[in-house]
């Protein structure tokens, strides 16, 4: 990628709602290897069990998170869309995806390299703290939503 392309991707990363309020210099450092990508309907973004070497900022489209077993078709348990972040397996050992992610609509994301991100978080603890304070509510929301799903609130 040329310098203009890198600058454009860095601007894109900074415009994502997840990064609003974080130190732009360190966001730029964290996302120096970031890559803008598009996926067509049905394309897989990640596969369960594979190394989680990146995470995704979603700018357009819709992504299904699927779980399943080898003897059963995948079941979509959550969808993620514009303005959301996909993945925290890259942050938690053993850094392997716990689910499949598949594009349900034409999808545009920025993929951020996990190793660069982990390095930035470790090298700049204050930034790391603020980053985790952004990520934790996302995780908490999804945990709460999963609990609510278990309550069968759309049932009779």
């Amino acid at each position: 990628m040329n310098a203009n392309g890198k600058a454009a991707t860095a601007d894109l990363v900074l415009s994502h709602p997840f990064f609003v309020g974080l130190d732009p210099t360190l966001v730029a450092a964290m996302s120096s290897n970031a890559e803008e990508r598009t996926y067509e309907v049905g394309d897989m973004l990640v596969r369960e069990g594979k190394a989680a070497e990146e995470f995704f900022l979603v700018f357009e489209g819709k992504i299904a998170l699927e779980v399943g077993a080898s003897d059963k078709p995948g079941i979509t348990v959550e969808t993620i869309g514009r303005g959301e972040i996909l993945g925290w397996s890259w942050l938690v050992s053993p850094h392997r995806w716990r689910f499949d992610a598949r594009a349900l609509k034409p999808t545009r994301v920025v993929a951020i390299n996990a190793a660069a991100a982990r390095y930035a978080l470790a090298a700049h603890p204050a930034f790391g703290y603020h980053f985790l304070m952004k990520l934790l509510p996302v995780i908490a929301d999804r945990l709460e939503n999963t609990r609510v799903q278990l309550m069968d609130i759309h049932g009779v």
Partner: protein, 293 residues
Amino acid sequence: MASDTLYPFGRPHGATNLSPHPYAPRPFVVKGRTQETGDTVTLRLSPQTAGDQLSFRGGQFNMVYVFGVGESAISISGDSGHPEELVHTIRTVGKVTNALTALNPGAVVGIRGPYGRGWPLDSARGRDVVIIAGGLGLPPLRPTLYDIFRQREAFGRVEIIYGARTPKDLVFYEEVQTWRQRTDLRIQTTVDAAGRDWYGDVGVVTTRIPDSRFDPPNTTAFICGPEIMMKLTAQALAQRGVPTDAIWLSMERNMKCALGFCGHCQYGPSFVCRDGPVLPYRTLAPLLAFKEV
């Protein structure tokens, strides 16, 4: 003629053509039957006696009687602009609803009603409207949607969020697809879990609220579904800034007389049949905080 002796606790709201006696059902003939989902059926009914058609407001209900089996409170799911056809959407959950969903065209049922307070659509004029339904919560909201469509210019943004367990549990599926064609309406449909043939959202209805485009302080919300869904949805809307007196829920309780006599449907200080079923969240919030009320 109905008299105050027959309705000592007040006449059902908006009812202009009540039964001669409040407990006397009027015969209606099943004209059509649509299988909505595996356990849910829509019946289209016409009065057996000419002139016996019911005028109603969205959110009201009837007591529907299967002769020899029993009576059940069922919300009206049809169009108040076409009172010649009375529509009920029924899920099989017990003896009476099992009998109702098994009826075929030509069968006769007894109808008492309409009863209860419907959705306060007049209070939403000039405001954004968000309609949130869970499971079989869409049928009681459909008459109000028809009313909104008829006078669409009277309202601001209109959003529908509709959630079900699975794609197979979505009722009025074809009709909802036609609503999607409208440019003056935004619909988000979500399910708890789905296979690979579903391209909509997956997650509970509350997860769709952040992606909505209504202006919270200027929004009126109508919510219908299982009580836990309504509670969590109302909380989420209030947290977002929708005034609690502009959030309306349709409560479901065991209704027997439907006239405010028997007390089976008492919920705190209210009889759901008479004072509801549509009640404001501001009133309900303290009660919803308690379990098993």
